[in-house]
Amino acid sequence: MLKLILRRLLGMIPILFIIITLTFFLLRFAPGNPFANEKAFPPKVIQELNKQYGLDKPLYIQYINYISELTKGNLGPSTRYAGKTVSEIIGEHLPTSLLLGLIAYGFALIVGVSIGIISSLRQNSAVDYFSMAVAMLGISVPSFVLGPLLVIVFSLTLFWLPPARWGEPKHLILPALTLSGVYIAYIARLTRSGMLEVLRADYIRTARAKGLAESVVVLRHALRGGIIPVVSFTGPALTFLLAGTIVVEKIFAVPGLGRIFIEAANSRDYFLVMGLTLFVSTVLVVMNLLVDIIIGLLDPRISYK
């Protein structure tokens, strides 16, 4: 197992290198520059700024400089948030995104898996059709619709929760609910199809023939195999929740990473975009490694050599 982890972590290096290179050049070929959007600076000031950030050198020198700084763990300065380093900005906003993402996904996991199991056990019943129809709706309704709807219901009608605040635990509820909607739907559908496949297996019949109660058959014998598609889905899903939640962050005034990402891209904050891309890519690769390890633990037939 340790060997696997080590090998996979080493395998990350070329992947991340390719991502860095692609992002670096794509970003530079995009029109505009970090100081073009601001008020018209005098050319001299622009020149000074470029020099300060090392942007006046030839592109390949900048690339080499970036890579060499990176190997020292330095993600560079931000041009938009002057005076802050990219690492500081990520460090500042990551806890918020992490907390919100984990709560939303945890909630989605509990609700989605439950709905999926119930649907699979009552396949083609009214309950199944209803929950799958709702799941379809959940996948189709974008968060910029679901979010305001929740605000209308819970904030503006029932007055239970504030519409857009950040700081107290209860402020997490509405954004987490909004974020989890799509995931509940996906997880329910994945669980249902995974469980349907497993429930037809011979070994489930064996378990029933032993006289085990249906709940034991489902939870002890079927769920382990049926849940595997959900585990695979969790890696990319959690990564997205970490940095791809700009809409929800905007609606509920959440100081998360998603907003930083979009703003960095809009203002051509080269270092910040690079840093965030690198960070998200690393998270994704690590998540996928974790997923593989968990699946290996769930299914003893899978062994990594």
Binding site: D202, Y203, T206, G211, L212, P300
Partner: protein, 324 residues
């Protein structure tokens, strides 16, 4: 068939249907038989004749939908298993009536250790604690001839060969000393040499534990060597039922005769192997009258009408109009 007092299991007019695509498949269509205490009953028939469905129906293990037991009785210990509540039949499954299935490769849970699968049955039915159940599981594995059982108990099923897995299944099935063991083609998926070992094992353990056995198979050789009585199934019905020796020496139903004829005799050189002409009927669209009549060389106009099962002699029953 006359009801015998020493019968451990009496199946009466059992009917199991499957529903789908607007058609009704009568997989089991009025099956009746008795199993005497301590005996082995063989049920033979082609694939799709309803052998397995009959036996899954006994323990109500037919998945619904699409399957449904629509009629009949299964009397076990003076109770109709078709009518008792779910929690009561659950106490019978695995404890008093156990099953072994056809494909040992897929019948064990690949996600759980063999030990856990063996232990849960004695924990459930006999209230054993963890260490007792583990001890019992090792004991059972040794009983079915798994070498180094105390170590192998922590293995997963994919680490066992097919024959070994079937041994594990047998160990599991016999853990609670069931009164009845239903073996559904226990050797079909195995090599011939392993087949013989598994059959010997079942035979030996049957005597040791005193279990009655229903053995489902399509292999007439197995029936001859293992069973006391034999029922021949065709299109969801038992068409002939007799003591095994009687059935082999004096078959009555043309289908049984055909089956016996299609077993090659190594002593006679045959140019071409005998086969029953035609195919088994579509169970959702059975021919009128005797379902075997389209393939039967002795068929007459009388066969347009369904032949009731009738007594040929003392213990021999057949569902055919033929006098002899």
């Amino acid at each position: 068939m006359a009801k015998s007092n020493s019968a451990i299991l009496s199946v009466r007019n059992l009917q199991t249907h499957f529903y789908g695509d607007g058609a009704v498949v009568k997989a089991v269509d009025g099956v009746s038989f008795d199993l005497k205490l301590g005996e082995t009953l063989g049920i033979v028939g082609e694939s799709g004749s309803g052998k397995s469905v009959t036996n899954l129906s006994i323990l109500r293990l037919i998945p619904y939908p699409p399957g449904k037991i629509v009629g009949g009785e299964v009397i076990f210990d003076n109770k109709d298993l078709m009518k008792i509540p779910e929690n009561e039949i659950r106490r019978i499954r695995g404890k008093r009536i156990a099953m072994i299935f056809q494909d040992p490769m897929t019948s064990l849970n690949p996600f759980m250790k063999i030990g856990a699968q063996l232990m849960e049955i004695t924990q459930l039915h006999e209230g054993l604690n963890n260490s007792q159940a583990r001890k019992k599981a090792i004991e059972m594995l040794e009983l079915v001839g798994i070498a180094d059982a105390s170590r192998r108990i922590d293995d997963y099923s994919h680490q066992f060969s097919g024959g070994m897995r079937q041994r594990v299944m047998i160990a599991m099935a016999l853990s609670c000393k069931p009164e009845l063991l239903i073996a559904d083609e226990p050797t079909t998926a195995l090599d011939v040499t392993i087949q013989a070992q598994i059959l010997e094992l079942i035979k030996g353990l049957k005597e040791k534990i005193g279990t009655s056995v229903i053995l489902i198979t399509h292999d007439l050789g197995i029936v001859a060597g293992m069973t006391d009585h034999t029922g021949v199934m065709y299109a969801g019905k038992i068409v002939e039922y007799a003591p095994t020796e009687e059935l082999f020496s004096n078959p009555h139903h043309p289908y049984t005769k055909g089956l016996l004829k299609s077993v090659p005799d190594p002593l006679i050189e045959q140019k071409k192997l005998f086969q029953i002409p035609g195919l088994p009927p579509d169970l959702s669209n059975l021919p009128k009258g005797c379902p075997f009549s389209p393939r039967c060389s002795s068929a007459t106009t009388q066969c347009q009408e369904f032949p009731p099962i009738r007594q040929i002699n003392a213990e021999h029953y057949s569902a055919c109009w033929l006098e002899n």
